[in-house]
Assembly symmetry: C2
Homo-oligomer: 249 residues x 2
DNA sequence: TGAATAGTGTCTATAAGACAATATCCC
DNA sequence: GGGATATTGTCTTATAGACACTATTCA
């Protein structure tokens, strides 16, 4: 390992000779995901410029010089979707050399979870912005790219590697759902157990046992009963619960 | 959303006016982790240059212009630890603006799992390279920084945010161990159930039920009995098993 | 023979799935 | 009342933990 010091040396020099290394552009891209009407949906923006003009891309932006990655993601979310205070986590970093035909762009993808109504109402009427239904062509957590569909169920052309990014988002959500309270993030403040189960089934892409689901959720310490019941339904209304911010753990 | 097009515009321009955006340096850093003698260990390199001279850093390097992130990580692993064909996965991307005092450096941390003997034999005698024992000051998957200890059990000074990076690595390992076959990556090709349980307990930082562990592992479809038994032990030797690359899933 | 761990069999507690019965709301 | 779903209770099955017992190797 006699070549060992060369790295630290290089790092040191890099600080004073930025020209020595070709630096990539670094962006954050956001998968803003919601669950509605039995399907996952994601926020997409139609590209009006080349390359991939006319295709749909995830909202994204460059990371500012004095901005952390999380801050950049939160800023993009505010600017593009007018959303604040939503669940936001880093997802995966995509850096294939040719993923953007213009120049080297490394993107740190983030996952944002929003309740469907809130997402819809946050968006102004803008034809360039859509909340597209996702089609997941794989089961469980196998992973792989995901398709986005327009209103008529036809696939939208996705820009760059954004189909892979969305696939990674769905895989992450499926993986976390079993042990982390992320289902609540996709629902309004008050919700019934049925709505929560619908969301879980939508994320997982498979039906769940109702009895077992109820038991698990009620035993999970995440739910607080509100004492109120849902309204305007054509059947016996279920009790409304609220997510309890778990104090410990 | 009338400001919408500005992003795509910016991206487009960026390709032709690189000076408009201050680009960060992008590196990969590697947490090369092994389990030995009841403790997790990680490969660290003593820094001979400022900043943080004399402290210990994760092996890392710049991402080349035509290199994917995974390729860069594999290259660093070859160069720094002479290791090839080990389990390697992307871990998390660290990008706090001030994490490196010289310039903006965003690092894509990776996790590499190696069996202890192989790691030791791959390293030449180089005082600057150590396989330091890790002390994990938290339970379960709570997360947080991790300490590295020298031979005498004294904490080593870790460079930059590398204590956080190592903490993220341990958290990831604990999280995956339950459902992913990563324990095998920390063992030689042939191993006994006892050795596998030791590794699991080392990663998780807590004892496991022996009976239940055996049953789960034997039912897991990941183990192939070799028909041979361990040697040179002072008690009844256990059967040697081998990891079976799971065909499906 | 004794020490130490490997490996097997059985019992119990717990959680999930299946199913039935009752309760409650809207029409 | 009829339709639909909520909610409760019971039974069955799979799995984890606990424990007792036997097997095998080396000193």
């Amino acid at each position: 390992m006699s070549e060992q010091p060369s790295d630290t040396e290089q790092r040191f020099l890099a600080a004073y000779d930025a020209g020595e290394f070709e630096r990539p552009s670094v962006t954050v891209d956001l998968t803003v995901v919601t669950a509605d009407d039995g399907a996952l949906r994601a926020l997409l923006v139609r590209r009006d410029e080349h390359p991939d003009k006319g295709s749909y891309a995830l909202p994204g932006g460059f990371v500012g010089p004095d901005e952390s990655l999380d801050d950049a993601a939160a800023r993009v979310l505010r600017e593009k979707a007018r959303l604040d205070h939503v669940h936001l986590e880093q997802l995966y970093t995509f850096g294939a050399p040719d993923r953007d035909p213009r120049t080297r762009v490394i993107t740190v993808a983030h996952l944002a979870l929003v309740d469907a109504k809130r997402l819809q109402s946050a968006l102004a009427e803008d034809e360039a912005v859509v909340v597209a239904r996702l089609r997941v062509p794989w089961e469980g957590e196998r992973g792989g790219p995901v398709e986005a569909l327009d209103r008529d169920g036809r696939p939208l052309k996705l820009a760059f590697d954004h189909g892979d990014v969305l696939g990674t988002a769905v895989k992450r959500m499926r993986g976390k759902l079993d042990y982390a309270p992320i289902g609540f993030q996709l629902l309004p403040r008050d919700f019934t157990l049925r709505q929560l189960q619908d969301v879980h089934e939508t994320v997982l892409g498979r039906p769940l046992n109702k009895d077992s689901f109820r038991r698990r959720m009620l035993a999970s310490d995440h739910l607080t009963p509100t004492g109120r019941r849902e309204r305007d339904v054509e059947h016996r209304p279920g009790e409304l619960y609220r997510f309890r911010r778990t104090s410990a753990v």
